[in-house]
Symmetry: D2
Amino acid sequence: MKFKVTVWNENLHEVENKEIGKLFPKGIHGCIAEFLDKAGMLTHTATLREPEHGLSDEVLNNTDVLIWWGHIAHPEVDDKIVEKVYKRILNGMGLIVLHSAHASKIFSKICGTDTGTLKWREDGEKEILWVVNPSHPIVDGLPEKIIIPQEEMYGEYFDIPAPDELVFISWFEGGEVFRSGICYHRNKGKIFYFRPGHESFNAFKMPEIQQVIINAVKWAAPISSPEFSHGFADPIMKITPSGDFPGVTNRGES
Amino acid sequence: MKFKVTVWNENLHEVENKEIGKLFPKGIHGCIAEFLDKAGMLTHTATLREPEHGLSDEVLNNTDVLIWWGHIAHPEVDDKIVEKVYKRILNGMGLIVLHSAHASKIFSKICGTDTGTLKWREDGEKEILWVVNPSHPIVDGLPEKIIIPQEEMYGEYFDIPAPDELVFISWFEGGEVFRSGICYHRNKGKIFYFRPGHESFNAFKMPEIQQVIINAVKWAAPISSPEFSHGFADPIMKITPSGDFPGVTNRGES
Amino acid sequence: MKFKVTVWNENLHEVENKEIGKLFPKGIHGCIAEFLDKAGMLTHTATLREPEHGLSDEVLNNTDVLIWWGHIAHPEVDDKIVEKVYKRILNGMGLIVLHSAHASKIFSKICGTDTGTLKWREDGEKEILWVVNPSHPIVDGLPEKIIIPQEEMYGEYFDIPAPDELVFISWFEGGEVFRSGICYHRNKGKIFYFRPGHESFNAFKMPEIQQVIINAVKWAAPISSPEFSHGFADPIMKITPSGDFPGVTNRGES
Amino acid sequence: MKFKVTVWNENLHEVENKEIGKLFPKGIHGCIAEFLDKAGMLTHTATLREPEHGLSDEVLNNTDVLIWWGHIAHPEVDDKIVEKVYKRILNGMGLIVLHSAHASKIFSKICGTDTGTLKWREDGEKEILWVVNPSHPIVDGLPEKIIIPQEEMYGEYFDIPAPDELVFISWFEGGEVFRSGICYHRNKGKIFYFRPGHESFNAFKMPEIQQVIINAVKWAAPISSPEFSHGFADPIMKITPSGDFPGVTNRGES
């Protein structure tokens, strides 16, 4: 089975900054799509400045897992698109949120917290990601740690719900730690946030980082989830309520 | 130390329906405030139709724990007030969400899911709440189960994040189960959802149910949380980044 | 890839009780192995009264997932075999614990609690299993609930650690609830406890129950986990400790 | 209400090593008991070489929270005492496990994993503990981070169950991270593991470290937990099982 992945990217740094454009000649989305393609996935890309940010109903309905990279233009993302993406996630589409997309509208909405809150420093210091969940599908084939020579620092406190599954913790040269690989289950959808991936550095070109994202796609892909009925429900078993109750006159009207 | 509790209620059923008005002559808020008062708490009440829904900055800033009951008028709650309450919660105010307030704007926002989604039936059937977390402060002094003679049924699937702490599971006569007592930690705030408390029944008058809510207030009250710095952070330890990085020219500018 | 599954069974009821022998002519292990075979797995069976309970090093080393059914002879299981199984689990072998094996030595050891503690009643009443984790691989292809016409009842409080993932909650006719499908991660191993499967009833012959077990095998199968170093560790980064410390004279000697 | 705390210590380093004896003239247990006394607690101390390791039934039955420090003599602790302590914990006594007691028999038994597994280095490097759970009672009154000038390093992977509540993550100068403040609920008991506290260093003399332990005692102290019935249970609700079942002849006999 081939996983259908849509890689969404803001695509502004690459266009506006020559140096970054050289690092990612096809954009960050292009870089990510490339290694997912090689891993046998069916990839599609979409960017902010396309109509509907490239996320039409047709695109979303044909996406198993959506990858999201954004940084300087989170407020430009249309609330209606955010709402559509949100509903697709609750209905089963996987979401992988990368690096500075921690502050994206969709991740904040899913978390129910101010996920923009964290410490940062852009000095190109060393980051070491440590695996703390060795049986998790997302660490399949990885070593115990990933050393990234240069990265932006993110430090705690990161304003997120306690992860359903904590997979990686990062160490930074300047003294900070960060919950860097975290999983959430929300209704039929699975969400993975992964910290590395600053626009000025090369994390996305490292095989171990690519492996994490490939594994995360497989983990986040939808299953054939149960269909739930909701709203008014007839009893399955016979009930024998005793007495009358004020205001309880119309079964089936909430 | 006295806990400052604000009990918020929609207060429409009691006013619009004579039978329910008889059940709760001082409103559901009055009923709850009364047993909290007796437990030594400093209570205040607020209702939907008051200016700012009774939730001025002064009230919110003097509230340790906010209790929320609503049912038929969730959409009437002003988004600005919801935003204010939300920020207070992330900043430490406790929140106790009762029964049909599962579908309130504030609980949905905190959960990041469509918390209105569940099964229901208003037949006055029997509910049994089972304790599944015996060391949790919220079950202090309780028996292993609470039998409620008549209640509205809520059934799974309840569209919520997996609780940080699952305290009660309910059994219903008609064949359903429900995660009925659930805890969340969100930044400095603690949130407890408690299922019982339909407007047509007498759950709030049962000593065990009152005990749960009293315990929950104590659990949800703010502590003296750490103050976090966020945004740009100077390194604590000396860092020795190697090389130059495109676009990394201005430390301290995100 | 074919999953290598060893189905372990006490195999006493089937031999000692004619009626149960008729229900499971090839033993409970034979029944389970049969539907796993059909699902494309490589199955092997092992039973209590075989040498080493059928769990030689060779068998264990060739097992991806071990399924465990036991009831009346938990104390007969040799502590040395339990220790071997335990180490294999921490090293990656999956474990599926069925029904009355909640009180097995291996499950108690893994849980660190007295997992024999629960309520029970063997009256052939109705059980309804509700899915509460719709994105979990173990519910792939299932309906929202599974109704088992007759089963033994297990009721809370079940003395287990709060599950890492809670997948099913059971309803029983007599008024009890139970956390019936629960997942644990322990080092490189994954463990799933599943409640149904009494020797006098037919749960294991129901397609939905079989589907759960098939899904659980796939979920519990080992990944290629990171190899961790442990014990004394040289620093990755240069450290500059200040001062001398009493007793710290011999690096590398704990 | 005064909390009754028993501080247990191996008390070998202090006796056998002059330098360490100078650091802790009353033993590590004496040092800890002293600051707990000042915080208004009723403390008692017990050590390895006393009869029953100082943990008679009378002592244990009069203990709300047991604190445990051990390092080089874990195997000397009598299995019968471990079993007694274990049962008291499941029955409500709190347990605080400090530093090298990660490898103690009681903590391994409670965790169900090989908790001796981690990385270590005794170079007196710097440790920074970061709060990642700002609403947790254990961080009451603390700053966002605690900097310990010199400590032994512990590094991941630490072979523990994913904590029920993760409170602190440590950063070490040499490049490692560690889950340093972790909570478990096991039946009626609460357990807190806290990393700092090597015998050669002064962590226990730091006010912030003392505050964590004081807070942890309050958090871990028993509540009035529900009394559960277990074993055979009469139905609460009438059941109407259909048909006869092989082997189901004697209700109430497992």
